[in-house]
Symmetry: D2
Subunit: 337 residues, 4 copies
């Protein structure tokens, strides 16, 4: 940490800060510049954060030097993390396609979607049993009945399933059914739930919050890893900006940034990212070219009849033609589907 003093800070005020740092067990490094006195604190930055030095009127600002995340960082683990789910590996040279409907609606609908996306090349089935909805008057998901349908369709198709968990106390229930536990954007900082997920030994797909910085997203992953579960898959799904032609702004630069900072796999969700089926194929291709380890796409046998997010769902035909394009792109990127 670097503590920047106010220009008018007095000698005893500088001393006060140094004393507090030292009594917290930190090394201290004083530097009097032309315009400012700055104090370098040597040691664990977490200790400095807890000192509340910014509350002092003679302190101008406190600048962090190291990053607040540890276990997720490349410095903790240099090589890429690769997780196995069913026959599929996430984070290596396989490009993972997770596809399926926004919400589980019925066995018929789910099976049709699952068979369609499997035939097109998808390795993992997505589908929501618990649905976070903005309006209390909207369809809220089939809940446990939906989980059972997912399990039945997995049995029939062999596709592992990824499905959302919405609450600390349903973690156990969802974990009985899911192959990958999905944390939705609205729950990225539901810290109690993250801690509960940290106790599992099962992959967690952690969506980036609607307005989460990359650092906050990685800190949420840190919560899960700090609990002992190191199988975290990051998922970029768009951030909120002023642009309204798309539902969110898909931040694809998060892909190389996250690959640079961490060893975790990163998946892109172009369906929520754009909110419009027309733009999903282009953004899926872009995600692969940016270096994503996979994509997660909403596919519905009849988008027009979907109970949820039909506007951003691909038909099976469109998804099939997309996977052909992705397959060629994957080859250029040294990957395979």
């Amino acid at each position: 940490m670097i503590i920047v003093m106010q220009p008018a800070a007095k000698e005893e005020e500088v001393q006060h800060v140094m004393t507090r740092l030292e009594s917290a067990g930190l090394g201290v490094h004083l530097s009097k510049g032309q315009f400012r006195t700055i104090i370098g604190a040597i040691g664990d930055e977490e200790l400095v954060r807890n000192l509340g030095l910014e509350a002092l009127p003679f302190v101008e600002k406190v600048l962090p030097i190291t990053k607040p995340f540890k276990l997720v960082s490349r410095e903790f683990k240099a090589e890429d993390s690769v997780f196995k789910v069913g026959n599929c590996t996430i984070g290596g040279s396989q490009l993972v396609l997770m596809a399926g409907p926004c919400a589980v609606e019925s066995e018929e609908q789910l099976l049709a979607a699952a068979e369609g996306v499997k035939a097109a090349g998808a390795q993992i089935l997505r589908g929501g049993a618990f649905k976070p909805r903005t309006s209390p008057y909207s369809f809220q998901g089939l809940e446990e009945k939906g989980l059972k349908l997912l399990a039945r369709v997995r049995e029939k198709t062999g596709l592992p399933i990824v499905t959302e968990v919405m609450d600390q106390h349903t973690v156990k229930l969802v974990a009985e059914y899911a192959d990958i536990m999905q944390v939705g954007a609205r729950n990225m900082q539901n810290f109690y739930m993250l801690r509960e997920l940290g106790k599992l030994q099962k992959p967690v797909l952690l969506k980036r919050g609607l307005s989460a910085t990359i650092e906050e997203w990685l800190m949420a992953a840190e919560y899960i890893m700090a609990g002992g579960n190191h199988q975290v898959i990051l998922c970029e799904r768009g951030i909120r900006t002023f642009e309204s032609y798309t539902r969110n702004t898909l931040d694809l630069s998060a892909v190389p940034v996250v690959k640079y900072l961490t060893h975790l796999p990163v998946i892109v969700d172009p369906s929520h990212g754009t909110g419009n089926w027309r733009f999903v194929p282009a953004m899926s291709r872009a995600a692969v070219a940016a270096g994503a380890d996979g994509i997660m796409v909403e596919v519905h046998p009849q988008p027009e009849k979907a109970l949820c997010d039909g506007a951003q769902s691909l038909t099976i035909e469109r998804f099939t033609s997309l996977t052909k394009e992705l397959s060629q792109l994957a080859a250029v990127m040294g990957k395979y589907i």
Copy 2:
């Protein structure tokens, strides 16, 4: 709802949309303009939302006409809602001051804060027992022990308490202690928790999410009211923007907007809104002048030693001098403290 067809939409495509609307029980109103055919759907917009018409390639867009919230709106209830908490009324001509430390740290700290803010004029004590923290390595709150301390200090000072609930399953526990249940910004769309709060008969202070639109915020209030609990207090606490001199951007225009759209009281939190004690007094005054029903301010006996958010906490002295200013402003606004 207004359904705008693509310019090239064919007759049978227009017919397809009309048939779907009619079979959902909606009235239909066709209008062929110079450039576009548009279809007006007459009836409950929620029905139209569920039809997924935007998934159809020949539909350009679907525009809502009415607002999605009902119970929170002025159309449902024209006069201001006023709630009684202890001796204090929220939403009427009393200006409510909620003040206290970010986190409950010890009985000594909490009591010092409570006595200080009470003497300065605050009517309600704030203090967090459960703390949502970005880092798993930061202080996470005293939890139930903190709730007990809050109750003890209430007994000693007579101040009702507002404290945060972080999870559906601690709603009952927190409700045993709190006079007002606080929903934090990160939990604004924790829908399971909102539903649980809807079953109480106790005021809920609902903070606006970090990047929530006003409409989403009101829909979260709608969840609580739809459950049967009509005592919702809205709290603006800043939204996330690109500006970095302040921790968030306090959106004070939300105050008149919310007053125009709803009958619910609205409180402003300038501490999280700015993240810097220097700017808290100015924004507290501005909140009152904008028409807020009260403010919620972090006050700590020794901000420099706070375990959480010291940089944005006022000392008791500064808070005391602020309440004098607010008292004069309240008078101009036809209110009293």
Copy 3:
């Protein structure tokens, strides 16, 4: 500046950075922490900025310590700047009301507006002769004819005028007529125009750009001051966020921040800030309570017939009742109108 090296940076790479700093005439301060080597550069930060050290793969980041603005800062000039315009002073204890129509449309309209706002207490008349419009098909202003009308109405009413300049080469023309030169949000970084304005000895009202950080806004003021014109008035007018109930999000916290960082007066424009006449009075009051030196409000004799921005214009009646409220608030703030 603080140069943070990559964790794996080698001895000779650290040396390379130090040598470059020294050969640019900067002092160097080396600090080897537990996790990172950091190098403090002592001297003018502008010199470090020009070294492009972030281009080096072994440099992790370069952190500025001092602020990039000089002449606008409180460190350059501690006491508030106060400018005289006609009989009115801006930046002192007078609360300045600038009011008038968005665009100058005709002598009749302008005179009606001017007489109305003057009677209500406004000291300065606003009105646009050059109008930056999003669409090439919208009304673009009366240009020089509008300037002449402004001058005629000033003669009749005695009100000084503030009007927008849109281009480097019309600076001279506008300066012949205007008492205050207004720089619109879209032109905040029109650097050639800023330089031209720096050559005048006339107040410049500098609106904050739609998505300008406070620092960029102050750097734009620095351009004008660096040219020799020290009469800069800052004007907050809302920034762009995701919220759509208001046209922009009025960032009132910019008022105390700017007052803390600089000696310049700051004015608030709640008309563009909200885009809706309903919310203008509340935000005008809030601006005054936040410590603004004045407000700038759109007032039109018949908003419904305005050629531009009618939706955000107050009628003369509404403006008159607003000024009464503001007058009482000003008194509480130790100011007068």
Copy 4:
């Protein structure tokens, strides 16, 4: 346009709106729904915009149905626009690589960059002679001398040049030298300059403003086209969000959106989009996969010595290896370099 009346609007107020629409020559379509009366205005939406109906207290909102842009839209021209610059075509099946230094610094630097990027496959040389800089104390470009150097290097290498114009009155000067006139992000709404560019018969590369919506960006293009110059190339370069790991957030979804709405070519600038050379290759690939017609990349022979934006500049080596990757991706996309 759809005019939505307030729920409490009276019969004569509905009539007032209808009369105003009719007297402006618009057709009127009345629809009384369950909750609202709405009025459809049939005819040119520009006429409705000018009526200022939102200023009426009994009007709730005015919703546009058609888009405000005409000449740039696919409805005006269905097939892709393709422009010829030197031997290169923009907007067709050739993938265009514009590369070169941020600023022209010297003939030696520019020639080294030009020869390097040409050898790597770039077809167009970029380089700024006029530099918009946030600080008045930063290097502001070589101005006309820089233009002359660009011309000299074009002569030596055969590469056409794209360079920025910053002001209405330098349009003529820059047009003497440039093959493509670049409008920077800060000037996207410099309407006087856009009108001047509309009088040329030369391609204009129009960068998206820092916080411009796609609609505003297209309206800026409309200004140029409305003047008679139909050769507009759009350039996405990142928008401002809260994320700080990257300089801006590159909005790649703008590529398919713009391709859907307009017939104009679209280029992506990953250098400004990310602000960090490490992330430029990934985002260049993503741009191509998203369907961009080309990219614009900053390349410097010695980024560490660049007078401007060294941190985001590629070395010639890195650019060369990038073009190899892009060449393979282009083939998958049915394009060639």
